[in-house]
């Protein structure tokens, strides 16, 4: 923008930041193709000396990757859909209606962002158990739905929809349902996509609630299965754990690559200003 024609040394700093971000990932992938011995002996080489698929094959024998992935997907999908629906509905109510106590309700909703999970951990466990939802995908999804991030972002985006547009629709006696679906949703599409993607990725990686709610191997999600390989008593099998970590990141990576433009440009431009 300013310096033209000069060599820009700032790039060196930025490339260093890129290295810090990416190098651990390269180590992860490379270790997943190493034998246990080589992971100790050829630590520094990013390209495995004797590349092997053994870790993946062993993983496939030891855990049911398909079930694990499906469990994780289902949980993340329910959380994402749930959070999008409740977020959109709530934001729309705040945007287009006046009612008593609006400010109060809004504050309560927003303040949930500031509730540490530790404060609701014990009671929520008991509630989920009472609802008979332990080891159930719903049991692990429900507490994750309490998050006002979506409400905040959608509300901020909706505020940019000109009042005249909605007022005009109201004057024309177009039902609210139609205003919501035909006017508001299409305008919000970019932020719905990007917020949805972020929700999905975060829930996919969620650790705390699955640890508390899912005790049955059959209901485990991928991050929980990783615990299998960091048990210190039997020794950590690092290459195997890295193989599972690599598998775990595939779907988030695909989602990111597909929606990258939305995520990087619109989550923030539309949502937070």
């Amino acid at each position: 923008m300013f310096d033209k024609g000069k060599i820009n040394y700032w790039h060196l700093l930025l490339i260093l930041v890129v290295l810090i971000a990416i190098l651990p990932i390269l180590f992860m992938v490379s270790n997943s193709f190493k034998t246990l011995r080589d992971s100790y002996n050829t630590m520094l080489s990013l390209i495995p000396l004797r590349p092997t698929l053994n870790n993946y094959l062993m993983l496939n024998r030891q855990v049911n990757l398909l079930t694990l992935t499906w469990n994780t997907f289902l949980m993340a999908a329910i959380v994402t859909i749930g959070k999008l629906l409740t977020g959109l509905l709530t934001a729309y109510a705040f945007r287009s209606y006046r009612f008593k106590g609006k400010m109060f309700v809004y504050l309560i909703f927003v303040s949930t962002i500031f509730v540490p999970f530790t404060i609701i951990m014990i009671p929520n466990y008991l509630v989920i158990a009472k609802l008979n939802l332990l080891n159930n995908v719903l049991g692990v999804a429900l507490p994750q739905l309490c998050d006002a991030t979506g409400i905040m972002i959608f509300l901020k985006t909706m505020e940019k929809i000109p009042n005249t547009l909605i007022d005009a629709a109201k004057v024309d006696n177009i039902p609210n349902r139609k205003i919501f679906f035909n006017i508001v949703i299409p305008i919000l599409k970019p932020s719905i996509v990007s917020v949805g993607a972020i929700f999905f990725i975060n829930s996919w990686n969620e650790y705390v609630w699955p640890t508390l709610i899912l005790k049955d191997k059959a209901s485990f999600t991928l991050p929980l299965a990783l615990q299998n390989y960091i048990s210190s008593e039997g020794g950590t099998n690092f290459p195997l754990a890295m193989a599972l970590s690599t598998i775990m990141v595939i779907l988030p990576l695909i989602i990111y690559l597909i929606f990258q433009k939305y995520i990087l440009n619109s989550i923030s431009t539309s949502g937070l200003k």
């Binding site: 990416i22 990932i25 530790t118």
Partner: protein, 294 residues
């Protein structure tokens, strides 16, 4: 008919969220508050009422005092690593380079796709002070790596760094977007007036970007303190001698390792109050329109 609809509809829209929040958040908070006045171990049939003893313990017990102090250290480190550095980098990307901006954005964000459990595992392996790749390289140039897991402050640094790896890209993009929303004509005007770039940033850009930066700052603290839970749990379990524990981890330790639900609940309530103070700041600076919904 329309009128009646109008009155009920907003509540219908709010209902799903309200039920969820009531059942999984508000009632649990009240219950935790209730538990903080009792001595209980999660399974005993009776709870013993102890008044404010648990709260007094939170502030008098030397371990808890240490943990509170650590929490402050965590906050300082998180602000530096997860807020100031991303902010600095976003300023550079916005104002000091004119190529590759998009590439950097794409690459910086990639670690956000990873689970913190994975991050914790990779970094403990990479940073093993005796046998890790980094220690190996340092040894070859004649530097011995400090055994960070034995020092509370170094362990906190490493743990914060791991969360930094994960959230850096996200915070960077939020801040960069904030910068992007500053009207170009203001910047162009400054350029014409030949105002030095750093002065422009300090006098114009930073004040204009205040809303989003306070939002990211507070998110950094509130989410950061919860994010560090996973690496603490995986790497140090709070050690050495509570040197890397914070209030969130201590709450978990009391609840699910020592089964002192009373102490745990009291700690949780105190943490919540601190967070609420932050929330108040957030509303003052970010929402900045408290009159809007009255």
């Amino acid at each position: 008919m329309h009128n009646k609809n109008k009155r009920i509809l907003p509540f219908l829209y709010l209902l799903p969220t309200a039920i969820l929040l009531l059942v999984f958040m508000i009632i649990p908070i009240i219950y935790t508050f209730y538990l903080s006045f009792f001595d209980w171990n999660l399974i005993a049939p009776t709870k013993e009422f102890v008044g404010f003893k648990n709260y007094i313990d939170v502030f008098i017990d030397p371990i808890n005092q240490k943990v509170i102090l650590n929490t402050i250290i965590y906050i300082v480190f998180l602000i530096i690593l997860n807020f100031l550095i991303p902010y600095f980098i976003s300023l550079i990307v916005k104002f000091f380079i004119n190529k590759m901006q998009k590439t950097y954005k794409i690459l910086f964000f990639i670690p956000s796709l990873f689970s913190l459990v994975v991050g914790a595992m990779i970094f403990t392996w990479m940073l093993n002070p005796v046998s890790g790749p980094i220690a190996f390289i340092l040894k070859n140039i004649g530097i011995s790596m400090p055994n960070w897991s034995n020092s509370g402050i170094l362990a906190i640094t490493v743990i914060c760094f791991i969360t930094n790896w994960k959230v850096f890209g996200y915070n960077f993009i939020l801040l960069l977007t904030g910068l992007g929303s500053i009207p170009q004509n203001i910047i162009d005007a400054a350029k014409i007036d030949r105002i030095p770039k750093w002065r422009l940033i300090f006098n114009v850009v930073l004040p204009m970007n205040r809303g989003i930066s306070v939002y990211v700052l507070i998110l950094t603290i509130v989410q950061g303190l919860q994010y560090v839970f996973t690496p603490i749990n995986v790497i140090t379990t709070g050690g050495p001698y509570y040197g890397s524990s914070n209030m969130i981890y201590q709450t978990y330790l009391n609840a699910f390792v020592l089964y002192k639900t009373g102490t745990s609940s009291a700690l949780a309530i105190v943490t919540f109050i601190i967070f609420l103070i932050l929330l108040f700041i957030e509303i003052r600076f970010v929402e900045g329109r408290s009159d809007k919904y009255v």
